[in-house]
Symmetry: C2
Subunit: 229 residues, 2 copies
DNA sequence: GATAGTTTCATACAAATGTTTGAAAAGCAA
DNA sequence: TTGCTTTTCAAACATTTGTATGAAACTATC
């Protein structure tokens, strides 16, 4: 069928344009011009502009989520059913960072598209992102198995901070590059993942804190003290 | 002059509407209706819609930045010219978190506006945010004084991660609340600041890493080992 | 090769939106 | 008041945008 051809052309053109110029700047007319198809084709094949954007985003999200879960499963098998907290963190932030960072950024339209999606936050994407919670729960469950007895809130904060560092690095990589005047190497993805994982595990294994009183900093006079888990 | 009155009414109405409904959903006609002024008044007083948004954002940014620098200066005076790394981190993330989180969120239109600005990232605001680097350099300088001899890149990564945790907590507080089923207390701002500062300082004082090889995780088998600075 | 279903196309539609205009109103100094 | 500037106002402008339409072209099945 030639119809699939048109569909694919639209998807590819849209992803490329959105990746390059952002959601706000790209109109349906831009997309159909890039794809060499008729204006009406978008509504015919996707129903609406928002549904086109949604399809682009879910496709890429599913890919990332699958990678994450594969890594998680591999880590669990390696550990005989129970993955280490470090491997779990690595499975959580690795795929995203590997997909969106690195020197070969120019080749990957998908990566640049996901970065845009992370920065601009347009309605159809926001709606989908809300479902991401279910996906994250699987990681929370794995973390609970890896750190039994640990307070649940601590687990969630650790998960949250890990995502914070990963996503913020993707979102603000230009700024960090400029701020550090190139001293932070944003191309060494392996090192960045190690760094994020290390800090995340540290945050998670910090000090065991009694449930009620607020977590108190364990740092005194710029010096670090801690008790093991 | 009644002109200032109109100006202020527009600013107040715009901030309220943007805070409540986001930038994408609010038109100039919505704003002038809320402010009870004429449609043309916006262009007369601000030149354009984008300049109105920009003015809103710079006003609030200046406030936050001033608070940050005040805290930083206080910390430096307290330490006799050299602030501790912990106090620096606190000055960096404290004002933002205090401004945007907490149970009295309903009262503060400004806070909700800044959260929106952090989530939606509209062009006029993006342009301004680029200038934020100069502001952050002051904190980098303070950090360098607090941790002399430390590798610059490590400093920037620490600064970057601190902002990551703070901003991501603001951006995704709804998701974290839902993910943790309320177990993470997003109202206890004091505790959140402590938590972010603690992890930030940990990340900064981690292990001293030789400059060339990539930072290697110091966590082995889910167990934490570290060497002091 | 006729027919039914699918896809493409040019064009039109309709609504929204930021901006401009030119006159009226208000403020203010002489 | 008079004359000037500043501000307000209703209305119109000019685009841009996503979407809908109906006919034409194409495809496949019988």
């Amino acid at each position: 069928m030639a119809s699939d051809q048109t569909r694919s052309a639209i998807l590819a053109a849209a992803e490329r344009l959105y990746a390059d110029r952002g959601f706000g700047d790209v109109t349906l007319r831009d997309i159909v011009a890039e794809a060499n198809v008729n204006l009406a084709a978008v509504n015919y094949h996707f129903g609406s502009k928002d549904e086109l954007i949604a399809e682009l985003f879910v496709t890429r999200s599913i890919q990332t989520n699958r990678e994450r879960l594969n890594e998680l499963k591999a880590a669990e098998e390696k550990g005989g059913g129970r993955a280490s907290i470090e491997d779990i963190m690595r499975a959580l932030v690795g795929p995203t960072l590997r997909g969106c960072l690195g020197p070969d950024r120019e080749g990957s339209t998908a990566a640049r598209f996901m970065i845009r999606a992370s920065i601009e936050s347009v309605p159809p994407i926001r709606r989908i992102k809300n479902r991401e919670v279910d996906h994250l729960r699987k990681f929370a469950a794995a973390m609970r198995r890896a750190m039994p007895g640990r307070d649940d809130a601590e687990l969630y904060w650790g998960l949250h901070f890990a995502l914070a560092m990963a996503h913020h690095t993707i979102r603000e990589k230009e700024r960090l590059l400029r701020l550090s005047e190139g001293k932070c190497d944003l191309d060494d993805v392996r090192a960045i993942i190690d760094r994020v994982v290390t800090v995340s595990v540290m945050a998670l294994t910090m000090n065991d804190v009694p449930s009620k009183p607020a977590l108190r900093p364990v740092v005194v006079h710029g010096r670090l003290t801690r008790q093991d888990l």
